[in-house]
Amino acid sequence: MVVNRSLHGVVVNIGFLLWICYGVAIMEEGFHVSIKAEELTQWMGVPITNSLLMSWVVVFLLIFLAFLIKRNTKLVPGKFQIVIETLIGGVQKFVAESLESEVLATRFTPFFISLFLFILIGNWLEFIPGVESIVFHTAEGETVSLLRAINTDLNIPLALAIIAFITIEVTGITVLGFWGYAGKFFNFHSPVNLFVGLLELLSETIRLISFSFRLFGNIFAGSVLVGIITFLAPYAIPAPFMLFEVFVGLIQAAVFALLTLFFIKLAIMKTGH
């Protein structure tokens, strides 16, 4: 028993040493972090980056899923259809409660669900084997990964933030009217109100930065963290970190959609500060 145990200990120790050697060997190769998306090729002067390619994958995946669900839709719903309908109905009910309007809820629910699903699928596809590990040799002779998680490229969170921003402002203007909405920011009743209104205007534009940096920072920091942990301890240890990143991806997708909802709610409130 004792011999067995010590043998086991020796084997474990040798395994551990090999493990550390492997990690050190990888670390000497250098840990590569690129904050910009790599350019794969150019199409009529427009650079095609790996994150752009990935966003097409996400879009086609979502369209494919939508067709699949639509084709199997029946008047008498099956189990799967009941689940989908309950989820969408639940979201619509929540949106109607928040915005206090059935019309706006019907109008905005597809938008929120699309935002959520796009970000969620984009975040989760990062953990499919092959993403970031399949490489592509560019015409310039560089070796870059063919696919890159969409939200680790600042352009895509920024695009989503601009979409959310325009939606919020346009909703505010259509619901309150142009002068009603402008009156929130330019209030000439007293100097304090004027100052508060201008601050509101500033915070409205700062939202673009906070929206995009929140999503980008969380997902990019997550991918760097998983990369570093993989270099320090290549086996088994990265798994819980990846699980945590799956959770972060879900939370960030939900937060992006929820914050858009709350800001729309703020924008259509009549006497809001």
């Binding site: 904050i35 940096f213 929140r214 990019f220 937060v255 929820l258």
Partner: protein, 75 residues
């Protein structure tokens, strides 16, 4: 000091100092939420979803510091 080492120091300081505030904020936020759930366990769902949104808003500040650190180092 050379530029490269100055960049390393700047990144470390930006990341380290930037997470102090959000760390304190998150502690207060989650602590208060747990207190609220303890007082009124029925409101768990509402408090939890509000807490998650608040946590995301608070965390964003730390994340922005982290992004600034990454930008200093890798751009």
């Amino acid at each position: 000091m050379e530029l490269e080492s100055a960049k390393l120091f700047a990144m470390a300081f930006a990341a380290a100092i930037g997470v102090i505030g959000p760390g304190i904020g998150l502690g207060i936020l989650v602590g208060k939420s747990v207190e609220a759930i303890g007082r009124n366990p029925d409101a768990y769902g509402k408090i939890f979803s509000t807490m998650i949104v608040g946590a995301a808003l608070t965390e964003a500040l730390g994340i922005i510091a982290l992004v600034a650190a990454f930008l200093i180092r890798f751009l």
